[in-house]
Symmetry: C2
Subunit: 421 residues, 2 copies
């Protein structure tokens, strides 16, 4: 047992040291080389589609007891492989985040100080069943000059290996170190634990998956974590809301896609307009197949709604289900969000600019929206081109994590022989 | 034992929940209120100087076995209290970092996206003997809108309490919540452990002290840590260095103050100029009372220098001691720094701009300097006005940590009823 643990720790250390060396080269790699690697990897994905599909079929066949949803996430199709290839090309088209001068100033003594964006270093990506994450995450790490060790779900090992071979081919074509993109050398779950303990070897862990995975990572990690925890998002319909806008925004925020983290889980509606508007909103959403859990004040207006338990307001449904509570203005809405929210995304619908400002300034969430659907919380919608996840912590980056958020910075101080008094 | 541990966990939770509530108010506090609190606290420090000195005398008397250096750090004087008061007033004079618009753009669909600086939330500050850190750290946290729980050395409890009373008075005068600045309610060392495990209650731990403290914090923390680890700084004298500049910069980098993290610990000098320049540099530093540990190539030029062990090049001397190694150009210097450095601050002295660029771009350190003393790595020297430490990690902030680095950000997304397709 200990012998096995030692072997796995050695495997991790070997991989991480190779990644560290590769990260040094990648940090200095010019944009054309990185983009060439991404284009060559996309071409390899297309050329090897049949082989990737065969590997994926073996993965699916090897995991017979999967739920239909899980099987769907695990299954690749020619269209999904083409989407992966297009994704790599899109990342190649994004500006290089490395070397951007973030700030620059000159001190009275003549020293010129420059804050420059640079890659973080070695990233450990831990994800679940979707094999496409192998390509998506690798592309963002490569373009941002970071080396990455990818550890996907054990049921998708063959698919990940087939996809990884295409990325390795891209790196080789561009003359970049293949160790810049690695997949876990073992499917042993203990390798995840070794990654989480690899302080000094891995600079950042990015978990992407269900609550169980993210919670384990946050509890066990000895390495900084850029965690995407829950997305328990609220849409607050203020007393001064435009009814038509409120109907459109709420329907989109809840029902456009119910399984994404930016989907609204709870409706907060002001008591002043609830009697007139809530029945309309309920009818709209019922027509779209949404179910409800309502507090007593909401049920006084719509008695047919099932009663919510206290727990329901702290539940990320990720489904066609909406918690509903009646509140008494902005402060009351903020209090509900502070008690039950996950600091992901909250929206207010109102024509009252003062109320909107009070709401936005009162939030501590990563994203606050005024008169827009919470489902806009997305790297693509923010203009980042692509995202590796949504950060819900307080440090380093919050909200959508794109190429810029995968960088840190350093200072260059340029003098002419200055010495300190 | 467990009962005691539970009591301490409860004490921490009570303090942290009060801090969380205070942080919400502080995040929205206007600049004048924060500045008024700082000025009132400065006045209180001056008015209560006698009481603070008495408390400090009791602390010093209560710790008879201290080393002279430790005793000096622990001891307060009227001048040191005045310096604390001035420090609070200087922070009051700094711009408010909260609410700065860090970036702003409009999406093709009309959504306006704004990235806005906001406080991190609740900070846990763990430090050692210097009682003035109580005032310095509280001022930076308060001005940046963060609540803070301060846990100083157990031997300085009375001094910290007396200083804290002045900060509490300042908060009260300004009508700000006193829970925004708290000191540990117990001197029990277990309280430190409780702080380190307080994920969700404390947002960031900042350790300030010796290697032992910082190492323990980094190993035990379940909360993000902004760590100031070692400052094993290098000054590299390139073959194209100006001799006079090299002599001035090295003497300042090593000997201005030997105990600060930005002090140079290792001299790297190119083989091409070492025979001519190294003896001069050694004579300069010897005259300033510096001792040496030299590699074989350096001792071939200056045989009187003691031989360095491999370990010496990985030692942060914090003393009048310099490790010396002869290298063969920029790549060789970078290789030495990668093997032995701590990613704090490295400097190159050269008249060759290409060599300087190669050096600066090849570093992964938080700060790279060209023709300047490594001792400039300091929040004040960077123009931050004050600093809470120097961050040597890769995430969130690197280098001097001032008011801006004590902030995180959030997004405001402003629409006109947009829904996502």
């Amino acid at each position: 047992m200990n012998a096995i643990a030692d072997d796995i720790a050695r495997l991790l250390e070997t991989a991480a040291r190779a990644a560290r060396a590769a990260a040094g080269e990648l940090a200095r790699a010019p944009r054309p080389a990185k983009d060439q690697a991404l284009h060559a990897a996309a071409a390899a994905l297309r050329a090897r589609t049949a082989g990737i599909l065969a590997a994926n079929e073996a993965d699916v066949a090897g995991a017979p007891d999967l739920s239909a949803a899980y099987r769907d996430r695990l299954t690749l199709t020619p269209a999904r492989i083409e989407a992966m290839a297009k994704g790599l090309e899109e990342v190649a088209g994004l500006p290089d985040p490395v070397g951007r001068v973030l700030a620059e100033w000159t001190r009275p003594n003549g020293l010129r100080i420059r804050r420059v964006a640079q890659p973080i270093g070695v990233i450990g990506m831990i994800f679940e069943s979707r094999p496409n994450v192998t390509a998506d995450a690798a592309a963002l790490c490569l373009k941002s000059g970071n080396a990455v060790i990818l550890r996907g779900g054990s049921e998708s090992t063959r698919s990940a290996a087939a996809i990884h071979a295409c990325l390795a081919e891209g790196l080789a074509v561009a003359g970049l170190p293949e160790a810049a993109v690695q997949i876990a050398p073992t499917a042993d779950r203990a390798f995840v634990g070794a990654m989480l303990r690899a302080a000094g070897l891995i600079d950042l862990i990015i978990p992407r998956g269900g609550k169980g995975l993210v919670t384990r990572v946050m509890e066990e990690a000895r390495v900084p974590v850029l965690a995407h925890a829950e997305g328990l998002c609220h849409t607050y319909i203020h007393a001064a809301a435009d009814f038509a806008m409120a109907r459109d925004v709420l329907a989109n925020a809840k029902m456009r896609r119910t399984g994404i983290c930016g989907a609204t889980e709870t409706l907060l509606i002001d008591a002043a307009i609830a009697p007139a508007l809530l029945p309309i909103l309920v009818a709209d959403l019922k027509a779209l197949g949404c179910d409800f859990r309502a507090d007593e004040r909401a049920r006084a207006i719509c008695p047919e709604l099932p009663a919510a338990s206290a727990k329901d307001f702290s539940t990320e449904w990720l489904d066609a289900m909406l918690s509903v509570a009646v509140v008494d203005g902005v402060e009351s809405a903020l209090a509900h969000i502070r008690r039950h929210g996950s600091e992901h995304t909250e929206a207010i619908v109102t024509e009252d600019a003062e109320a909107a400002a009070e709401f936005l300034n009162g939030l501590s969430s990563a994203v606050g929206m005024w008169n827009a659907s919470t489902q806009f919380c997305d790297g693509g919608e923010f203009g980042f081109g692509a995202e590796i996840g949504i950060a819900t912590g307080r440090m380093h980056a919050r909200g959508p994590v794109g190429l810029e958020q995968l960088c840190t910075y350093r200072y260059h101080v340029i003098g002419t022989g200055e010495i300190r008094a």
